[in-house]
Symmetry: C2
Subunit: 196 residues, 2 copies
């Protein structure tokens, strides 16, 4: 009898995905139960299946939603006229911003993608690999143009991506810094270092 309370403009499926992302982040995909998700929505577990196909499907939608956003941004960056340093800065900025605006989804996508069913996992990894290849190409271009030092591109990409992926802003630095401060500080650090 109880109906899912939808926030303004939120469809039922959106509400489910929002709550699922929060639950998966807090408990991990494997330890999060469908019953608990249903409870957070004010309904019984079996009723959820009128809206979703399976628990795994929710994880899949979260991961690929996030991946799509990153991929689309990368496409914008690649066709822009900016130089390698500016492109790299854009990517860092986007990661920090995305993490702060869509924390639950991004976190789940970063930490729980390994629980995707085989087929989805392969596709997810392929997208991720392409993303990293695009970044490596940007760094290589920067090295060629004498903009960057003669670094090892694949390791630099690993360092940059893990730095921005691993950020755990959560509540911690919520009111300590603005998002813009965080973005620019990360860009400065990862491009120019901290040594005077």
């Amino acid at each position: 009898m109880a109906k899912i309370k939808t926030e303004t403009n939120g469809s039922i499926k959106d509400m489910i995905l929002i709550n699922a992302a929060e639950l998966f982040r807090k408990k991990g995909f494997a330890a999060a139960s469908v019953r608990e998700l249903a409870e957070s929505l004010g309904i019984e577990a079996p009723s959820l299946y009128n809206h979703i196909g399976s628990k795994a499907e929710l994880l899949q939608e979260i991961c690929f939603d996030v991946a799509k956003d990153y991929t689309m941004h990368m496409d914008d960056v690649l066709v822009s006229k900016k130089n390698a340093a500016q492109k790299t800065a854009d990517i860092i900025r986007f990661h920090v911003r995305k993490l702060s605006t869509d924390f639950d989804k991004v976190f789940v996508s970063e930490h729980e993608w390994k629980r995707l069913p085989q087929k989805n996992l392969e596709e997810f990894l392929a997208q991720r690999k392409l993303y990293e290849k695009n970044m490596i190409d940007i760094l290589k271009d920067g090295i060629e143009k004498k903009l960057f030092k003669n670094i090892l591109p694949s390791i630099a990409v690993l360092a940059i991506l893990s730095a921005v992926r691993g950020l755990e802003l959560r509540q911690r630095h919520k009111n300590e810094f603005t998002i813009e401060e965080l973005e620019e500080t990360m860009i400065e650090h990862l491009l120019h270092g901290i040594i005077k």
Copy 2:
């Protein structure tokens, strides 16, 4: 009847912890079953309980073993006569090396500590917070001594730690780079940046 095969010098408990770390890394703590762990050791699940108290205890031992190593290294760094830049480099180097030599344990400690039971979780977080505070103090000292730029220490620590924590060397770059190359590249990047 089957006995656990112990590798040279490895006690049974050590073997259990090694296999548990690998299993927890691959499947996640929640999704890893005691039965599967037992199977990897060639025994039945109930027999495991002659050697362990609970599944949670294994996670606890893995996480605190790793935390102890980092904390002990930090203590060495803090009493050393090196300057802030050298101390920071030492910390980065230790993280990279530790990750490459104890991949499964470090990975589990980084990704699964949230599944620790309440009491252990609080202690783990306290140790982690102290570790970060020590690093912040090192950076502050570097800023005071005009060695570092006027960065935001807490964000810089976050960037450095997430960069080194998030590294996924695994098989990927196994034969592509030596550990030393990886260490020095990360130090160079996180201290001096990539811009020429």
